[in-house]
């Protein structure tokens, strides 16, 4: 209860500060839209020269991309802690976090939120509806609930990988370069995993499970029954990885020694 209340208070505060500089916010949303548009155009251009990519049609690939945008946007809004090491460990800000009476990670999520990223949810859903209508997909009454569940699973996958990497900062002090690398590996999840070789496919499924952010859950809505097992594993993988990352975070916090000074 206290946590939800705090969350909304922080969110309200955040909106106030952002709305003071409206143009900055609009510009940021527009440039996000622009980079999503570039990815979209890329898919369109490629399909000007082929009708299928490893058995997936243009609309299906677009649908997968649309789905990917949704968990990615939620992740970006709340778990975008790529600068954790610099901001909290090197500068010693973690000291302040630890004196707060709520869980340290939750406190950081509150401080680092970027709500304008949530705009990607709308873009993603719009893209899915565009592709879905061209594929004549039908929506069953339970599909919205499945959608929420799978999106949550995908978000947790992204969140836990970044939390895990942030946790490394408690033990070692140079993982800053791993973070940008993860964004690039995450892009592999935007396309069907069967275009990759078996090693990368295994990696994207079990080690850095980015495939659970895009292809696997999207396969459920596309009616690809041979992928259903993986689609329904999405929330499980998300939860398992998330619990593991929280465990590592908590273990890491006990090792925190402060930055001196």
């Amino acid at each position: 209860m206290k946590y939800t209340q705090l969350f909304f208070q922080y969110a309200a505060q955040y909106m106030k500060t952002r709305l003071t500089y409206r143009t900055d916010m609009v510009v940021e949303i527009v440039s996000d839209l622009l980079s999503q548009a570039v990815n979209f155009i890329f898919i369109l251009l490629v399909f000007g020269h082929t009708s299928m990519i490893s058995g997936w049609s243009r609309e299906e690939i677009i649908f997968i991309y649309g789905f990917f945008l949704v968990p990615f946007a939620i992740f970006g809004a709340f778990f975008n802690i790529w600068d954790f090491n610099e901001r909290y460990i090197v500068k010693g800000e973690m000291d302040r976090i630890l004196t707060r009476p709520i869980h340290s990670l939750f406190q950081i999520v509150l401080e680092r939120m970027e709500l304008e990223s949530l705009f990607g949810v709308i873009t993603g859903i719009a893209v899915m509806f565009y592709a879905g209508s061209r594929l004549d997909l039908t929506i069953a009454w339970y599909d919205p609930f499945v959608f929420v569940l799978l999106v949550l699973g995908g978000t947790l996958v992204y969140a836990s990988i970044f939390i895990l990497i942030a946790s490394i900062s408690f033990w070692s002090d140079s993982p800053t370069s791993i973070m940008p690398m993860m964004y690039n590996i995450g892009n592999y999840g935007r396309y069907p995993v069967n275009i990759y070789n078996s090693i990368i496919r295994f990696l994207l499924t079990w080690i850095l499970p980015f495939a659970f952010v895009g292809v696997y859950p999207a396969a459920y809505f596309l009616g690809r029954e041979n992928w259903y097992l993986y689609a329904f594993l999405t929330p499980v993988i998300g939860l398992v990885f998330f619990l593991f990352s929280i465990f590592m975070w908590n273990a890491g916090v006990t090792k925190y020694r402060g930055a001196g000074n």
Partner: protein, 263 residues
């Protein structure tokens, strides 16, 4: 002239001090090249060639396009914006050198550093992982080198333009971000310009962007034939000259109406 060359050297040494930061950069670029490698192979499937390029030429294209990006890419636009915002530009303007030329030289120092510590070892690593076709013809390499110099200049000029625009917009981080995304697509980094539909190619013939990535990468993979190469490089040179005009005009106007915010 001496002071400009000195500037290249200083920037090079500055970058050298932080060279460990670049090892992860090579890995990131390799990860990107890998993603496109698999994607393009899936796109080609059993097709022999698309738009006159084989799958092997395409993967070589992607690899060289990214590694060349390491050379021409720099954040001079953001540096200029920063100096304008902090008011440092006022001091820069009274120094006995041409500010824009000095910025270009700094960018060149950075580029030479990345060429030797990023692009070159990166290309060796990428060639070990993925099949890449290297030309055996020294003329191709020479033309590629020439095209690369002009690709640096065009990109640099666009950066200068974006930077100077800070004089008029005060806060242009959004513009800088948008510019980067647009260049990635329209310069041919993500896919060759020849893959765009005809009408889009027509439009892009009137824009400077393809001189940045498309031209050198097409030359490297020998996807251009004979006269096309000469034509493409000439087009690059023409753009370098054309772009001088808006830069000088904006620069003159900007200096006249400079407002130093704080400082």
């Amino acid at each position: 002239m001496g002071k400009y060359i000195e500037m290249i050297r200083i920037r090079f040494l500055m970058m050298l001090a932080y060279r460990t930061n670049y090892y992860s950069g090579i890995l990131i670029y390799s990860i990107n090249i890998g993603a496109y490698y698999f994607l393009w192979n899936a796109i080609y499937g059993d097709k022999g060639s698309i738009e006159g390029m084989s799958a092997l030429q395409m993967t070589s294209y992607i690899a060289i396009a990214w590694m060349a990006r390491a050379f021409y890419f720099n954040n001079i636009d953001r540096e200029i914006a920063q100096e304008i915002k902090e008011g440092k530009v006022a001091v820069e303007l009274i120094r006995p050198y041409n500010y824009l030329l000095m910025k270009t030289m700094q960018g060149l120092g950075e580029g030479i550093f990345r060429l030797s510590f990023f692009s070159f070892p990166g290309m060796v690593i990428v060639a070990l992982i993925f099949p890449i076709a290297f030309s055996a013809d020294p003329v191709t390499w020479l033309l590629f080198a020439v095209a690369l110099v002009f690709s640096f200049l065009i990109n640099m000029q666009i950066n200068l333009l974006t930077g100077i625009l800070t004089f008029f917009f005060y806060n242009n981080t959004g513009l800088i971000r948008a510019k980067r995304v647009i260049i990635d697509l329209f310069s041919g980094l993500l896919l060759p310009i020849s893959f765009f539909p005809g009408w889009a190619q027509q439009i892009m013939n009137f824009l400077p962007f393809q001189g940045i990535s498309y031209v050198p990468s097409m030359i490297f993979t020998e996807s251009f034939s004979g006269s096309e190469v000469i034509h493409a490089v000439l087009l690059q040179i023409v753009w370098v000259f054309i772009l001088v005009l808006p830069i000088q005009t904006l620069w003159l106007i900007a200096r006249k109406q400079l407002v130093v915010q704080g400082g």
